[in-house]
């Protein structure tokens, strides 16, 4: 095996992407486009959630179609606690992680007894249960959701300042990225990737695979809970729509689009999907009838974009770069 060069296209891309994200608020201020900060905070939040999902989907081959429920748990933890006057961010964080962790432990313990199509369906079923539970919470806005009285209080950090919220999301993304980078190469990650490749063989080597897969599922859920808390703070609003099954689907699309089982893939996927969405919905080419057509039917064009990436690049935007180097 030849030694890997340290300047590979994939690494350069990863560094540029992360550095670019760090500069967004500065650029937005310079070009006087405050809306960019909100858009990119959304991108960071979805990137965080997709990264969480990728731990089970990409590294563990567990196709969870219900991860939006953990986004919802995070968002509702902030919403409900703030409704009752608990504004402390740390307290909200503690409650959100505890509730999210317990739910993930229970749901995971049941779902992981199945695999393949059954696993997809049962994770979807649990997410739908939680969705309708949220709809039934009249006190907290029911179907319509509710406006938050205020954002979480986090010491000296004023989350009402969009730039502060942006950098908080960015810091959390980097922290999770670093943790996952270590994790997938450590013993735990080797077990998880081994299960993805050949679970039967893992068992015959002596690994009690269920407990490792369950732990990965819980960690992955907790990252989504974190993303949900940020989401509530970004929009100052929570509603059952955060845990709609379409959101679970979007998280899968982002992960696949960016590159399954790669660290940076979900970040690239989230950014690509949300930027293309935004771009198409507000595109102005100067040809009125074409603009109207694209602005109204951008969803169909996104479909074309996804088909292109999946067919031509196969391993996703970032996964393609990684795979290209592996082939050399």
């Amino acid at each position: 095996m030849s030694a890997k060069p340290s300047f590979t296209a994939a690494r350069v891309f990863a560094v540029l992407l992360l550095a670019g994200l760090a500069l967004v608020p500065l650029l937005a201020a310079w070009l006087d486009q405050p809306f960019w900060v909100t858009l990119f905070t959304r991108i960071l939040i979805f990137a965080l959630a997709a990264m969480g999902l990728n731990l089970v989907l990409g590294f563990g081959a567990m196709v969870s179609f219900g991860h939006a429920m953990y986004l919802g748990i995070g968002a509702y933890a902030v919403g409900i606690l703030s409704y009752h006057g608990v504004d402390s961010g740390l307290l909200q964080l503690g409650v959100a992680l505890a509730v999210g962790g317990l739910v993930a432990l229970g749901v995971g313990a049941i779902c992981l007894r199945t695999s393949g199509m059954a696993f997809i369906m049962i994770t979807l079923a649990f997410a739908q249960m939680l969705f309708f539970l949220a709809v039934s919470l009249r006190e907290y806005g029911g179907d319509d959701g509710m406006q938050l009285k205020g954002r979480s209080l986090l010491g000296p950090l004023d989350l009402n300042n969009p730039t502060v919220l942006y950098y908080l999301a960015y810091a959390l993304l980097l922290a999770v990225l670093l943790a996952f980078w270590r994790l997938v190469h450590a013993r735990f990650g080797m077990v998880l990737r081994g299960c993805r490749s050949n679970e039967r063989r893992m068992a015959s080597l002596g690994f009690p695979t269920l407990r490792y897969k369950l732990s990965a599922y819980v960690v992955s859920a907790l990252v989504c809970v974190l993303a949900g808390m940020l989401m509530a703070n970004l929009t100052r609003f929570v509603s059952p729509s955060y845990m709609a099954w379409t959101v679970s689907g979007e998280l899968i699309v982002m992960t696949v689009l960016g590159g399954l089982g790669t660290l940076i893939g979900p970040v690239a996927g989230a950014a690509a999907l949300l930027l293309v969405e935004e771009g198409l919905a507000s595109l102005k080419l100067g040809v009125p009838w074409l603009d109207t057509l694209i602005n109204q039917h951008w969803l169909a064009l996104i479909g074309v974009f996804i088909v292109f990436v999946v067919l031509v690049l196969k391993q996703g935007l970032y996964g393609w770069l990684v795979a290209r180097e592996a082939r050399r």
């Binding site: 013993r187 080797m190 690994f207």
Partner: protein, 250 residues
């Protein structure tokens, strides 16, 4: 010598088919015991029952003092039962060394370690390299498994079982699909292992079986029709008739 593995009255039915028919067998410490039989005799079913991937309908399996009859595969592996598969079963995403180190890891305490790269843990890498040296794959350590030749993959399977530190190796046709030169290498390797661990060998290559085995059990329709030393088996008329006859004067 005491028995390492004691199988009594093992039964497995698939619908109306009796795949394993009241099979009893005992394995002594340090011996190489070969199970032979015509296709469909139930050899792989038997191995899977021992490994735990198929649960037995009746009978008892006692291994090294543990009753493992109803234990799941991972627990059987933890008490020292290692197996290889008839169809090579390795981790294709990993390198040869990573495959072997993972086998070591399975028996090196729990794997709830999240920070230190497994590749930098001497406690995993050193025993893995030792196992690779035993099967002669040292030079291929950093090769991705996906580019290995068939024979090398089979050698890797054996290295992985060795790396688990298993007391009993269940080898399901380790020479399947190998060239004559490759199978000679595996015969030499298994000879080296003799005494170091106990081996239950299912194999079609009769030259290999008679060269290696201390004792042979002949399985026909899931039932042992004879057990004995290679010489005894060679000279039993019913065995010749049931099985060896078709091999033509072994």
């Amino acid at each position: 010598m005491s028995a390492l593995l004691e199988v009594t009255g093992l039964v497995k039915r698939f619908g109306g088919l009796l795949a394993t028919d009241h099979l009893s067998l005992s394995l002594q410490h340090g011996e190489i015991h070969a199970v032979i039989g015509p296709n469909g005799a139930g050899k792989t079913t038997f191995i899977n029952q021992l490994g735990g991937e198929i649960l037995s309908d009746e009978g008892r399996i006692v291994f090294d003092g543990h009753d493992i009859t109803r234990e799941p595969p991972f627990r059987r592996a933890q008490v020292g039962l290692g197996r290889s598969y008839q169809i090579t079963s390795v981790f294709n995403d990993f390198s040869v060394l990573q495959n072997t180190a993972l086998a070591v890891q399975a028996h090196a305490g729990h794997s709830f370690r999240f920070w230190r790269p497994a590749a930098s843990e001497r406690a995993l890498v050193d025993p893995a390299m030792a196992a690779l040296a035993q099967v002669g794959l040292t030079e291929r350590a950093h090769t991705p498994v996906s580019v290995l030749a068939h024979g090398e993959r089979r050698q890797l399977e054996i290295a992985m079982v060795l790396a688990t530190g298993a007391k009993l190796l269940l080898l399901d046709e380790p020479m399947a699909g190998m060239s004559p030169i490759e199978s000679e290498a595996v015969v030499a390797l298994l000879k080296k292992l003799k005494g170091q661990c106990t081996i239950l060998l299912v194999e079609h290559d009769m030259d290999a079986v008679f060269a290696l085995a201390d004792r042979i059990t002949v399985l026909v329709y899931g039932r042992p029709v004879a057990t004995g030393t290679p010489d005894e088996i060679r000279n039993q008329p019913e065995v010749r008739e049931a099985y060896l006859g078709e091999e033509g004067g072994v």
